[in-house]
Subunit: 330 residues, 4 copies
Amino acid sequence: MNQFGRMFRIMLFGESHGECVGVVIDGCPAGLTLSKKDFILDIKRRQPRLKGTTQRRETDEPLIQSGLWKQKTTGAPLLITIKNKDTRFEDYLPFRKIPRPGHADFAASKKYGGYNDTRGGGQFSGRLTAALVCAGVVAKKILAPVEIEASLLQAGGTTQIERAVQAAIREKDSIGGIIECRAKHLPVGLGEPFFDSVESQISHLVFSIPGVKGIEFGSGFSCSKMRGSECNDRIIDTEGKTATNHSGGINGGITNGNELLFRIAVKPPSSINKPQQTINLQTGEEAILSVKGRHDTCIALRTPVIVEAVTAIVLADFMLIEQKIPRVME
Amino acid sequence: MNQFGRMFRIMLFGESHGECVGVVIDGCPAGLTLSKKDFILDIKRRQPRLKGTTQRRETDEPLIQSGLWKQKTTGAPLLITIKNKDTRFEDYLPFRKIPRPGHADFAASKKYGGYNDTRGGGQFSGRLTAALVCAGVVAKKILAPVEIEASLLQAGGTTQIERAVQAAIREKDSIGGIIECRAKHLPVGLGEPFFDSVESQISHLVFSIPGVKGIEFGSGFSCSKMRGSECNDRIIDTEGKTATNHSGGINGGITNGNELLFRIAVKPPSSINKPQQTINLQTGEEAILSVKGRHDTCIALRTPVIVEAVTAIVLADFMLIEQKIPRVME
Amino acid sequence: MNQFGRMFRIMLFGESHGECVGVVIDGCPAGLTLSKKDFILDIKRRQPRLKGTTQRRETDEPLIQSGLWKQKTTGAPLLITIKNKDTRFEDYLPFRKIPRPGHADFAASKKYGGYNDTRGGGQFSGRLTAALVCAGVVAKKILAPVEIEASLLQAGGTTQIERAVQAAIREKDSIGGIIECRAKHLPVGLGEPFFDSVESQISHLVFSIPGVKGIEFGSGFSCSKMRGSECNDRIIDTEGKTATNHSGGINGGITNGNELLFRIAVKPPSSINKPQQTINLQTGEEAILSVKGRHDTCIALRTPVIVEAVTAIVLADFMLIEQKIPRVME
Amino acid sequence: MNQFGRMFRIMLFGESHGECVGVVIDGCPAGLTLSKKDFILDIKRRQPRLKGTTQRRETDEPLIQSGLWKQKTTGAPLLITIKNKDTRFEDYLPFRKIPRPGHADFAASKKYGGYNDTRGGGQFSGRLTAALVCAGVVAKKILAPVEIEASLLQAGGTTQIERAVQAAIREKDSIGGIIECRAKHLPVGLGEPFFDSVESQISHLVFSIPGVKGIEFGSGFSCSKMRGSECNDRIIDTEGKTATNHSGGINGGITNGNELLFRIAVKPPSSINKPQQTINLQTGEEAILSVKGRHDTCIALRTPVIVEAVTAIVLADFMLIEQKIPRVME
């Protein structure tokens, strides 16, 4: 179901090398000031610019085609589309027969009876995250003054990120990374113990970002090694401020007023130039595949802004549910 | 929203020291043979028996109060309740004023304006997982022959689990753990790239289990340190079988026919006898709290069957959506 | 899907002659004062008392088994059950083979592969509306000071209701009726043009009441015969008050501040003592059926309070969505 | 919530005189053959052509911008947009101040704090039904061989439709109508008793069509005047065929295998040239309004194909839920 949210709802569509990608945002409060320039910064942050990111060049101009009038949201659904321009889909045709290891080629072909769009991975593409970023821009605006910030902590297992990327490029290989996200100035009481805990909703959306394989809140996996007396965050004032933040700002699934904090693990992109062994599904014989086309060596370089976006989407939904954001903004 | 699922839906209710806990299951296929004895094993697995688990003793007999006739499901909603019998709620009364560090006391009191049931944590209690286990039993039955198995890999940071528990008990402290879950014999094609990936749905429910702070699929956080050439699972036959399983049986959010595999991190229980510093919300002064009552030293000992349950619930929903399970069973 | 609502959500369960009927209410604001005596009046209004209603006698005492503490809602789900006591299910056994004309016997048996509970119609019974009435009581309380009132306008095609019922009893037949419902003091702006118009949501729930075959808002079917100049309600003050109310208080799917008004058509109960022709599904031969057991001659006599209940449920959901009701009540 | 459906889901967007109207269809089975020419007939049926329909001229060419590849659906969401070309929004500017009687002007302005798009009614416009028709075309294709047919039974209270329209035009007034819809070849067992009865779901969507004020299934309001012995449809074969169809093909909320049958009441359009009395919201004084612009005298002339569309959308959803339509079509 390409939909998410209860009050602030998004519906995603589009393919990597089809006509466009985009999102419909339903439930955005009326009266929010919005224009194309709001999107520039975050869209730029998602674009490939650095070494280690794809050669594909898209202008990624978001078109707001409904729900906006005189630069104000109207309360009706916002349709935002981004055209695909730099498409070369002949690059991707053989993967139905010779599936890429680590990619959805095989599973998707089975699931959709071979009808899925294989051009650039079709729907199974990081390209769709451009639309998530757009929805995130809107969510961030209605969340203000909440601040959300994500950054790449390490890539290829090291904090020497640039060096790790260079090495992977040289070897025609790819690397993953770890991203941390923080949100400040959240009210106490967002989320519900069952089943819409803050962790539940954030992880739900985070795992829609291609390549994410793990998430931990606060001290996460390290908590499993701590004693309770160490892991429990001491409350130091009547606003609930705590001395440490092992819980990541969430107790019992709901925000406790401290910084929301989580980290995610991004795997290395599956498409690499380096020759890999796979299978020819028609003949059943082994095949050697060297993936041509334009790929990211380290998609994690571009992922932080997407993590911010999905976090903002989840939080905007919670804020509307808890009536912390009005239905008409001033 | 105490509800989850699209075709196989559950709604949870109850409190730790209220009258009962339970679940309504909506969308269970008609014709499934079901009786009380189906629940015995899994309910027993969740119960405290070992050292390091609470002294509270409940018979946990599930009452199936609707949706069943002549030991067959009818297609109507199943109401399953479990009475709370061994309740001592006076133990929990002071926590509104002096919140336990690491617990939802503070956040819940703010969220619900002080009206939340604080007896034993009320809704914020592991007690509700008894109802999840019941729903899991039903889900497992409709999933057969899919096999789901979870186990505790380590506690307190070590595989010497019993020893770690003993030490924590001695020190009136608590410890966490890491649980691994595997599901076999799944068809290819469950899940959707956006937003209901297998990872999204499983993590959504897993993070409803009290105390879970992290999840990783396949090699998870380790993937972030691998090269693509290492992380990509080589396909070795036309059924999609892979030589390794770094992906945890999921590509692009959908099952690839290999074993589904994930691990979760469980934090140490927040309620410990050891004195802790906290705050008196009325006076704003520091307070020392030594939590009385009956607590688990290591809740992770009891969590594996709950992880199996939520996994089964998610998979049953996917199987109905993908029409791999009929609406009337034979 | 036995669930309804976005913010104020209900999940229904139970069967006519099973153990109980009931409802889980999710999303009820915390802090609402609630006790058994709140239910007495509306439950009594639904009970058979008059001539023309069934001989079945139930005390219909609602048990609130979760979500309530110290007579205040806690913000957690409310489980409300009503035991079935006066059950005689042998009355209903033959209908799998010899389906009642006008009843769901045939269609339900096909749908559920013969596993559906046929005792008293199982889930296809007016008995479940007792649970709707309970949910309606809660909804009405959170809606105050909104007033909802439904009444039976005519039965058997006449306003001489008692006389029509007597005649039907004499002839061992049954009659239907028309019920009108009004809600006062609603704010402007509930509902949405697509797809959750006030008409959409109310009709959705109203058609869950067994026996309802039609609904019209405001002047309804009569509007189709009017000119626009006649049908348009003239606005007479800046609050939006109108001189007439052909629209039933709804324009473009949203409330306009005038009285919400609709009427529904209830068909005559299908179970009658009078012999009817039907078919024996096993032999394919014609059969004559005279339905024994205890039936309502005119179920519409008992339906108004149920109509009020579903209206209140819909309106409570809208009010929470539009933030006209807080999440914590004082 | 501009969304509807569980398995076959639609999300609507757009405004009357904005850039476009359209729909995202989520959950459409993969492998369905689809092209622009599939839409021609139904789009034409919705267009104004006859006397009594608006002068606005739109080509209404549907652009399928995602989810389709090589004229087959891919299983990914279908984005279908229709550009608005013949827009003249200056016609609509005064209605914020001087609301049209019978129109959503007043209620919408209050609801959205004055930010709603008032050009041509914005989202409160029959224009959006062009998108519903597109979704209906897709739904009809996956439903084949189910046949759905709607027609206008009467307009302005008479079957002499053309004459009634002419009279209304002459008087610068408008008229409503009654539309009947039938669906053939449905399987037994679609729908659920609570809360997604066939009546519930169809009425939910039907009341999203602007101007609909009533719906009745089978004999509907006439049932309220019948005896049970008359209203009960006699079953005449083991397939459940009935001699009459007072139930409209639905018992207990689920299809019984007979023709699905319902009628709806459409009110006269509120925008008329004839001068009407209303109020100036700024001054509080009475005002006389003669609505300029291009309007339908009898929108009911164009509504039948929209009724078919929403019926098809509901039925496609039910068919997927009941696994009567596969997830991949051949």
